[in-house]
Symmetry: C2
Subunit: 422 residues, 2 copies
């Protein structure tokens, strides 16, 4: 692997609330990792290949911890429908089609290309109940060197007949998925019970046993809406909270636990998630589109609950997770407007952290450009108007509020430059 | 002017709530107007030039009734700031620079190009207090054949010293602007008191006299936030509502009246606006960014208050008004979530109407593709994924939720195809 130096403006999250900006600086890449950032390039690096991006802005590649890969082709349509009509008219029939491998290959190839295009190189993805299709996505992501978790979905109750597994078959196919894919590189399998209402207690218990056997993490939806919370507790009468279902069944002990939405946590949900070191996922557009509510992101952050970001295709309409950075700031303003008690504004710096370093925390040294992190990075350009200059933070902010993939002029994974598929 | 026929899928708003869709149809353009739409092309038109867009989607060009042209270069930056810091740190210093014509030309040329790029061919724009810069924007829009209102801004109180006019000078320059630009074509001058708190009663009275003398309309901000409503009524103690200030000073009688935001109307504001036939302007991103609140769009629509759409650059972050179509649907869901009493969801069809036909209503026969309307239109493409087809409504919806200017493959004004400036 060749080593090199990038010159430009460099920005990454130092902490949850603080951006580190190095203007007009040199970033040294060695063996695919960030060796260091320098205002003046030290003499020992002066012979290395120099990629000079001028006023280009070098940032970490994005991390997106909640994507329904199978719903990619329904993004941004049918958004007038209420949740259950949307699921029954679009989502479930769509997911059923992943029994066909031709269908799965077409969709999942498009997903991988779009994630690369939008600069999301670290992702946690739901597929469907289908083993072969899930296997295909796993390898498609691995082939590009992406950092990802892929979960074959479990559903053994309260699901359309044509998408409902038996408990036994669900566990069998899940174990096969773990056994075949565990420990194979930058992509890892993850347990993916769709959400508590579609998974019986015996299924949850069985998944907990697989978690222990294969040292595997969990992704699911948690306390997404008031209706979901109520329904879940009716379906699981022995449990005191949504999170307790996963805790008591042993799903939080053997790998990262990733909880999407997390809008209405009870004190028990907070305690369990904090104890387990789980990561929650803010999906602003999606939870608006399905009228779930607004995540209390600022309040959660003050309680030291980790928050990552998700585009949540197809509840969300676009794969660009950087747009969710802007949306998280916007929704926090509305949250504060409507529920001032205990809520506050999310800053751009905090939202950027969610979509980079926080999401990256479930992988190995990705999501930042600090020394020792992998050089998984983007170069942004074209964010200033003719005759005007903006600070690096302002350029990053404008990109998240109104930029698009044309502003991404460089893409790197493990120090290797990525060329987009045609 | 050459006549021609366009073939493709055609969609426009028939009423506030209803889209008209003509799949696989022929639209005949004669003398720059829509002659008709046909499933089979009548024999008498068969010799005309045919532009075949296949599955391309032909829609009306967009109408945007609230743009601060002078704030273009600050879009999408500084969004963490509270309104008054944002105004004082970004907006006002920025607006002051329009005293320089070099500066104004650079910014306004970029604005015009961006509006054409985003398919907004009908617009109502604020400039600044400066006569020469406002004159330049007026002619830049007219040169492209756009349909527009341009208003030199009035501010004679509660404004930074460097942006504050005397009442006399404000009226003098406004009269000059009206006299020089009235009746000159597709672009028209419009009275533009910034908002009531920055305009004294004598200024409002003088503007009312100019409205009568020059048969001129009005654009301003109305009942934008609870703080603004309170402040306005304190500053105008003899008035019972924000709208009454404009009514009693004779500003609603001589042309269209365009009221941006309109989030907190009192009964008097509703009565006055309905009586005057005013158009309100929904600016979803901007009123979120400045934390004003959410326009009660569904409730206003049920009260038969006309609602157009605005990108509200620079409170809004992007000139693409079609994105505000999606945002209007999204915000109506949050409005209903937080204020279920009397509020409801805005459908995609309603939001599309706001950004096309409703906004177009203040101009002459633009914003629809019904017979007799000007052929001011866009052709959209690239909205389907490989291997999938979407209905015309779904393609339009996806465009508004996640599309961009690359999806606009044809642009027409008065039947003439527009080539974007380099």
């Amino acid at each position: 692997m060749s080593d090199f130096v990038c010159h430009g403006d460099i920005m990454y999250s130092e902490t949850v609330e603080k951006l580190k900006v190095c203007e007009d600086s040199y970033l040294v890449v060695q063996d695919g990792f960030v060796e260091g950032i320098y205002e003046t390039l030290p003499e020992k690096f002066q012979g290395m290949e120099l990629k000079d991006y001028g006023r280009g802005l070098i940032i970490p590649a994005f991390s997106d911890l909640h994507i329904h890969a199978s719903q990619f082709v329904q993004r941004g349509v049918g958004m007038d429908k209420l949740l259950f009509d949307w699921l029954n008219d679009y989502t479930f029939p769509q997911e059923a089609r992943f029994a066909s491998m031709d269908y799965a290959k077409n969709v999942y190839d498009q997903v991988v290309t779009e994630l690369l295009r939008q600069g999301t190189f670290h992702a946690s993805l739901f597929t469907t109940i289908h083993y072969d299709a899930s296997d295909y996505l796993f390898h498609a992501l691995a082939d590009k060197g992406m950092y990802a978790y892929v979960g074959k979905v479990n559903m053994d109750m309260n699901s359309p007949e044509y998408l409902c597994e038996t408990t036994e078959e669900s566990l069998k196919q899940t174990e096969r998925f773990l056994a075949e894919h565990q420990g194979k590189g930058t992509v890892q399998p993850i347990l993916t019970p769709r959400f508590a209402p579609t998974c019986s207690e015996p299924l949850m218990k069985g998944l907990g046993e697989l978690a222990a056997k294969y040292h595997c993490g969990l992704q699911t939806h948690l306390v997404e809406s008031l209706a979901e919370v109520k329904w879940t507790l009716e379906l699981f009468p022995g449990y005191g909270s949504d999170a307790e279902i996963y805790e008591r069944n042993g799903l939080l002990e053997h790998g990262p636990s990733i909880f999407a939405h997390y809008i209405f946590p009870s004190q028990a949900d907070l305690d369990i998630v904090r104890k387990a070191g789980s990561v929650t996922v803010h999906c602003p557009d999606a939870t608006t589109n399905i009228t779930a509510g607004i995540m209390p992101a600022k309040a959660l952050s003050e309680k030291e609950i980790p928050i990552a970001m998700g585009c949540d295709i197809g509840g969300g309409q676009h794969a660009a997770v950087y747009r969710q950075v802007a949306r998280a700031v916007q929704l926090s303003k509305l949250k504060e407007f409507y529920e001032p008690e205990g809520n506050g504004r999310v800053t751009f710096a905090q939202a950027f952290h969610m979509a980079t370093k926080a999401g990256g925390s479930v992988f190995d040294r990705v999501g930042s450009l600090e020394k020792g992190y992998r050089f998984n990075a983007l170069v942004l350009d074209g964010l200033e108007d003719a005759g005007f200059t903006l600070s690096p933070e302002e350029r990053a902010e404008r990109f998240c509020y109104g930029g698009d993939d044309r502003n991404i002029i460089g893409r790197f994974i493990d120090g290797k430059e990525i060329v987009l598929p045609e």
